[in-house]
Symmetry: C2
Subunit: 335 residues, 2 copies
Amino acid sequence: MDEETGRRGAPTISEVADAAGVSRATVSRAFTRPGMLSPGTVARVREVAGRIGYVPNQVARALSTGRHGNIALIVPDVANPFFPPLIRGAQARADLAGYCLFLGSSDEAPEREETLVAKFAGQVEGLILVSSRLPEERIRAFAERRPIVVINRDVSGLPRVLIDTARGIAAAVDYLADLGHRRITYVTGPAASWSNQQRRHAVRRAARRRGIEMIALPAHRASFEAGREAVPEILATGATAAIAFDDVTAQGVLVGLAERRIPVPERFSVIGCDDVLGATTFPPLTTVSARCDEAGEMALDLLEDQLAGRGLRDIRCVLDTRLVVRGSAGPAPAA
Amino acid sequence: MDEETGRRGAPTISEVADAAGVSRATVSRAFTRPGMLSPGTVARVREVAGRIGYVPNQVARALSTGRHGNIALIVPDVANPFFPPLIRGAQARADLAGYCLFLGSSDEAPEREETLVAKFAGQVEGLILVSSRLPEERIRAFAERRPIVVINRDVSGLPRVLIDTARGIAAAVDYLADLGHRRITYVTGPAASWSNQQRRHAVRRAARRRGIEMIALPAHRASFEAGREAVPEILATGATAAIAFDDVTAQGVLVGLAERRIPVPERFSVIGCDDVLGATTFPPLTTVSARCDEAGEMALDLLEDQLAGRGLRDIRCVLDTRLVVRGSAGPAPAA
DNA sequence: GATTGACACGCAACCGGTTGCATTCCACTC
DNA sequence: GAGTGGAATGCAACCGGTTGCGTGTCAATC
């Protein structure tokens, strides 16, 4: 008993062994391989263990077996609503497989991500990196030490899951074109982001195919504010609709328009991407669903395969997307 | 080298010792107590270690020292915007103190929280439980094993930080009263929540003091939808303003009002609580700031004190709040 | 020149589990 | 009654670090 804190050291396997009159090996097996022991012994050991409050020490177990039972999931920013569904998906799968999920948030800073990964690497069996901001060679270096699965980052040679918004974006452009829009803008996201590049190209391609004009506007900062501040520029282009890099940016656009008393969708149409806001905006946001939850599930399945020794090293899972029509896009206003 | 995966076992302290021609103890000390060794030895050992890619094994270290260098932070739901600022605050402090923060999300389910805490308990030095949904005796039981700090839960005997919204709420009621509102509603949050009870009482007390009428409306579900669905009931009371349990609920109210083309704040005023949405709504939400980031910082500081052996076991930190005026509340409409 | 003490380093035990192998016991077969 | 095989359990090494204590070296002191 620690005098200072009143907290006593947890009972160890040896104490249980003494109390039950068996060897430490037997206690260990009573928990890990009960089939090896006589039913009576198992019951007796467990009873004693329960009585004195013994809980196997995970750390010691990990040291001798090399298996920690933990998986780390690192995201750039927990505050970004894109990630929680993904986290939840991964967590559900981790539960099923008996793994404990450790979450880390890097605040979009590569250095923080680096230290986070390094610290986690020693305590988990594998890691999932979401929208990693790390240089590719660093990711590869870590992958030498531990199995790694990446999400939304196309690192060849590693298992990766990519959300392919191209199809959904194309549907969004078609939708706008069908509604009579002839000039649209794309409000850009982080320049370094794989998703942003992919989305921007998708908008451009689809617009060209439909013969409508597309103007890309650089985002000066992150997300919401970027969207809000882009509104004057958007309007200056003479466009009648905007597709935003993500839902949060789209929400910014929505607010910027509301501030100028421009009714949506009557006078201007807005489409987001990711479908993370649900119907919490006004008007409810028409958006491209990214199925983030499935991305999380899939990443965990891939990692599990790696850990089990089965599963390919170089596998590229692409998740398709579709347009979710709500109320923020409508017919182009008469000129 | 593992034939299957191409991944080799990490170099151990023994390999470094052999390569550098010193004992394992010396290698260990070269990293943990360089002052004990001659500068030349330290340099040589580190050089060799770096060359063969040695990284101290955290698990082994934790086993022998009992110090893991990890802290767990468990929240009910990462998707709730209340938590990210708190997480960030805690993380910043953890960095400073050299701890690695493990995050867990319990999805509001006590059983999940229970297993999460149990799994984490063996691998961290201490835990922070935010808005825990666990029965008090369970929290106490875990606190026997590891230092625990709780946030927004008044468990006597444990270090706890409480966000006291009473003052801010009172200011909000005063503000509304000053603007001429005579009947207001409070849109309730989760019944089991400590914060909800506290806020509800605060509204009632302040309303009585100012001699205005206060009507509490039960929330049928969580947050956003609760707010949106409460709008008809709110309007039926004849009230001219609403204070919502939290910002997300307030956002729901805002959307519900917008759907009915009721302009805010011209015809109805809305005030939220927590200040987690910033100015991302339209109109920007007037709200009671909860200083969640500071709560996270403070909790980590308290935990650190516990771990260092200093610090009281039974300490109750109360964070004050204040009203943040934006644009969602205005003068009461003329009757 | 013997004594002393600081310094640098090695030895070996220890943290709390797991596990290959040896041992004991017993029922069963020939 | 000796031989055999399987079931139940113990022994002891091992996982990869940390650390108290002991030893050897060398310069300073008397």
